[in-house]
Amino acid sequence: MSTTQILFFFLSALAVLSAVMVLISKNPVHSVLWLVAVFFAISGHYILLNAQFLAIVNMIVYAGAIMVLFLFVIMLMNLNTENEPQKNLWMKLAGVISGGCFLLVLISLVRQSNDMTLKSALTTTGDIGLIKNLGKLLFTEYVIPFEITSVLFLSAMVGAIVIGKKE
């Protein structure tokens, strides 16, 4: 087993475990922290796939900015408690079962997908994920969507103001 593989399985296990912990933590703050762990694991995967730019962005934007925002909101709302109301057991079970079914059917689809069996993702090498390459692409071919996202941000900004501002 190569290092890559070891790393892959370790990161995967971490991601899945942390993700599960997000669900089962009673305290919202713990959930946030577990989610940060998931994001870190995913960033690790990015690095493993040599997608450095995304790894960094993921850590800064997601794990850094977004999760902090979450944490901040939770703190603001004083939800830092263990006694959060829970859904009843049957509902939870139903949720888990339907999620499981979803996973099952999709995996069975993937397993039967013949063209996927032999392919593999290029790890550690391949430099398309470097900032230089992506940046070039972003400002040439993808400049239109890039500009258009500004509309998105504008509207999100306006929205946050409209919603958040005290009247």
């Binding site: 999709l106 689809l109 993937v110 039967q112 997908s113 013949n114 063209d115 996927m116 040439t140 071919e141 993808y142 239109i144 969507p145 258009i148 996202t149 509309v151 998105l152 504008l154 509207s155 999100a156 306006v158 929205g159 103001i161 409209v162 919603i163 501002k165 009247e167």
Partner: protein
């Protein structure tokens, strides 16, 4: 491109005018002017007068079909603003921002009418959705509005997640984000040889689009959100936005549906029937006209889905006609509904005596929604059914649709009954004569399209 740029810019203009101009009642005039500008810009592009040329690297593709859709959407928005502009201002303290958001939504709509890849689809949908989450929640003191906003937001994000997973799987299977896949080989059994992973992606994409156009069983957000949102914005959401969703749906699956083989028609007919069933049947029980209209919009979505089933020229024309007919009628009804003091059916009792003009125009709108001939709604439905029949077979599906159309008459006509046949004094806010004129204009347009649909469609043809 004109429309995208102008609408984005107009959104910015509106934001600034919110700061610069203190007089709030100016906003709707500015917005109307902006819409007019937008309309002109779009028409210029449609008819080759002037076009801002930007290399989109094939991410966007402008064609007459899409431009024409833009025209309809912009005109509908213009009518909407003219009729309900005052009520938009009344919703909260940030009228300029509301108009800005409406322009941003229009920007999303125009992107959706021209996207040529999954990336632009995704962005367009998000640009369209995010302002809507906000508009839903603008009535901040109203718990229903809050709740609707959160529901809409959570479920919308969830469906975005589903859509992204679909996109990812398609990307995994095909290696591109294009929407015009190579025509797959067909196996001896008549099944296209498609990677299973693409199919999985398509199913998820299909589901998320169904969600956006509120097709059952992914419609659950619709009644709650439409009911909870301020009525003016419901009107906007239920008409232009939804039509744009359909347009994107049609564009997206135009050439991809072949990949799914027989199951495409099965899934689609399942969704159509479920949508018609839930939309129509549940609407029957509703006592609140607003909520009834929410369900009716689901029901109408069921009809619009026929365009996908047909998947031919007729269905393209049909979706345009449907957009026009449905938007006009719904905007008209909502414009009246907003003026009502009581949103329940009983609130409409005797409207024909207190406000005969409104009652009459509302009746025209309702007749159009139920698809009675001589109104635009008839030809809209007609095209849908015809496209399916032209696509061959599926008479049973058409029959089901027709039976549900009869059910729809039941709840639409209950409003007419309340207005005309029941005793009561329907309370309305003050009705200006401009508003009445606007309503008459809408009704006249509906009848015009209903008598001579070629007036509308020939623009598409020449």
């Amino acid at each position: 491109m004109n429309a995208i740029i102008v609408s984005a810019l107009m959104g910015v203009v509106m934001m600034f005018s919110g700061i610069m101009i203190q007089h709030k009642s100016m906003m709707k005039h500015i917005a109307s002017g902006g819409l007019l500008l937008l309309l002109i810009a779009n028409l210029l592009q449609t008819y080759g007068g002037f076009e801002i040329k930007i290399d989109t690297h094939d991410l966007l593709h402008f064609d007459r079909f899409g431009n024409f859709f833009n025209t309809i959407a912009i005109i509908a928005t213009l009518i909407y603003v003219l009729l309900s502009g005052k009520d938009i201002e009344k919703t909260g303290v940030h009228p300029a921002e509301y108009f800005a958001l409406i322009f941003f939504v229009l920007c999303g709509v125009t992107i959706l009418s021209s996207f040529n890849g999954l990336l632009m689809l995704f962005l367009g949908i998000e640009i369209m959705s995010i302002p809507l989450y906000i508009l839903t929640g603008t009535d901040k003191r109203n718990l229903k509005s809050n709740e609707a906003a959160l529901k809409y937001f959570l479920m919308g994000s969830f469906s975005t997640g589903i859509m992204l997973m679909g996109i990812a799987l398609i990307y995994g299977g095909s290696g591109s984000f294009g929407i015009h896949p190579a025509i797959p080989e067909v196996s001896p059994a008549g099944m296209p040889k498609v990677s299973f992973i693409i199919v999985a992606g398509l199913i998820l994409l299909f589901v998320s689009m169904c969600f956006k156009v509120s097709a059952a069983p992914f419609h659950f957000w619709t009644p709650d959100v439409y009911d909870g949102a301020p009525s003016v914005f419901t009107s906007f959401m239920a008409t232009i936005v939804k039509a744009a969703g359909f347009f994107a749906f049609l564009r997206l699956f135009e050439s991809q549906s072949a990949l799914m083989g027989a199951s495409w028609k099965i899934l689609l007919s399942f969704v159509i029937i479920a949508t018609l069933l839930i939309g129509n049947i549940t609407a029957v029980f509703q006592q609140s006209v607003k909520r009834m209209l929410a369900y009716s919009s689901i029901a109408q979505a069921g009809f619009m889905l026929f365009a996908l089933y047909g998947g031919n020229d007729l269905s393209k024309e049909g979706i345009l006609l449907y957009t026009a007919a449905y938007s006009l009628a719904t905007i008209g009804i909502f414009a009246v509904l907003i003026k009502m003091k009581d949103y329940t059916l009983d609130g409409f009792n005797g409207l024909s005596k207190t406000q005969p003009v409104l009652a009459f125009t509302t009746t025209i709108c309702l007749l159009s929604l139920s698809g009675i001939p001589l109104t635009a709604g008839f030809f809209a439905k007609y095209y849908m059914l015809a496209s399916v029949l032209k696509a061959g077979g599926a008479v049973w599906l058409v029959l089901v649709a027709v039976l549900f159309a009869a059910v729809s008459v039941y709840y639409y006509f209950r409003v007419i009954q309340a207005m005309y046949f029941k005793e009561g004094t329907a309370d309305t806010e003050e009705i200006t004569s401009t508003f009445k004129a606007g309503m008459i204009f809408v009704a006249g347009l509906i009848v015009l399209i209903g008598v001579l649909p070629s007036v509308l469609l020939s623009y598409f043809y020449f």
